[in-house]
């Protein structure tokens, strides 16, 4: 019952599979194409650990079916460091103690990647509001907020550097 073809681009690479219609996008990423960076916490849209970008917008991948992503461009946490080089935001997480166990980190990174793209100079309340959809049980959020603000500063500095692309 309910087998269906789906084809999507994930981190710039095309994948085509025939899957159960009930397979969530999160499980597709983890089990069909072995991108296990996307974490699955609550499976009902509360914790935010499974957040990915679908056509450039954050979405909870546990609340989408893989068949719905047919024709979409998906970016996962693996797509933030394509050549193994950490993104500015990822480095800022390390430098500011933005993670401890790391379970929530992929979702945090995707949420903040979208925020910093759309709002290069977020205030601290704006960062905190953006993070309301992602739960962390280790850090108390302080390190994550600091990392986001630090990354925003570094990205602005980079953009202002002469000769910057």
């Amino acid at each position: 019952m309910g087998r269906q073809a789906t084809r999507m681009d994930v981190n710039g690479k095309s994948y085509a599979r025939v899957v159960d219609a009930r397979l969530t996008l999160a499980d597709f990423l983890r089990h069909e194409i072995n991108l296990t960076g996307t974490h699955v916490g609550c499976e009902h849209g509360v914790c935010g650990a499974c957040t990915v970008l679908v056509d450039g917008r954050t979405a909870r991948s546990c609340l989408m079916f893989a068949v719905q992503a047919n024709g979409c461009e998906v970016t996962t946490v693996e797509g933030l460091a394509p050549d193994g080089k950490l993104s500015v935001l990822q480095q800022a997480f390390i430098d500011n103690h933005g993670l401890q166990c790391g379970f929530c980190t992929p979702g945090m990174l995707m949420t903040l990647t979208e925020l910093l793209r759309d709002k290069p100079e977020p205030s601290e309340p704006e960062v905190r509001e953006a993070l309301t959809g992602n739960l962390c049980r280790c850090t108390g959020y302080a390190g994550i907020v600091a990392a986001a603000l630090d990354a925003a500063r570094r990205l602005r500095d980079e953009a202002e550097k002469p000769g910057a692309a």
Partner: protein, 289 residues
Amino acid sequence: MKPAPFDYHAPRQLKEAAELLAKLPNAKILAGGQSLVPMMNFRYVIVDHLVDLNGLDELRGIMVGDNRLRIGAMTRQRDIETSSDIARHCPLMTEALRHVGHRQTRNRGTIGGSLAHADPAAELPAICAAYDAIIHVASVRGIRQVSFRDLGAGYMATTLAPDEMIAAIDLPIWRRGHGHGFQEFARRQGDFALTGAAALLDIGSDNVVRHATLTLFGVATSPVRVETAEARLIGEPLTSAAIRAAAAAARQIEPISDIHAGGEYRRHLAQVLSLRALNDAAQRAGVEA
């Protein structure tokens, strides 16, 4: 935490979707999926067929008419939140949307889905109640219009037939310069409202209230218009005493009592939030009451 198996249908046209809904047994409509899919993952909802409306471009978009806004049912909450047309003509909606879930859920969630889900604490049904929205309902029998007031049928239930879907929402455009206020109390940003209040005030140059609505949500099975408050305000000069009296009328509701908040606490919130919402609306309409 995985949904039960189902057959998936992705129609491209409204007609096709209506025909699928008319013929498939135990079918459910998938809009943004931000409430339905959790319920499917929990297996509160088990369907044989899922009809996904995300491919229906004709149900997406915001149109500004002479005296009304039309919002396609599949328009994403995030797109309504960031729409300059909505901010200009219906700023109450823009403000309310900041309280709807989180950005990740607003990126997917739709206005039609929110109305069909009919959560008592949801913001978008409250806005539709505040504006006396007209809902366009589509099926193989064509399109019918129903006032938002007649869409609800108790706790998380609507009068929609199983083969019907919401196609669009019409909101009347209030006069430029009208005031709006939106207040919600929740334990955390993005949580379900324990109680919320939405106020609209149209005030004439003589400081007399021409039109007013006061809506509460999170207090009953569906949004509640505080008609006694509205009746007290309309036709009278807007003063701080009038606003206080109107807000006090919000206490007359019989609120629900649950694990999140007792009825008496919700009644208190209803009055306090109504007062703040009406004051915000008065100020935005240019009246220092």
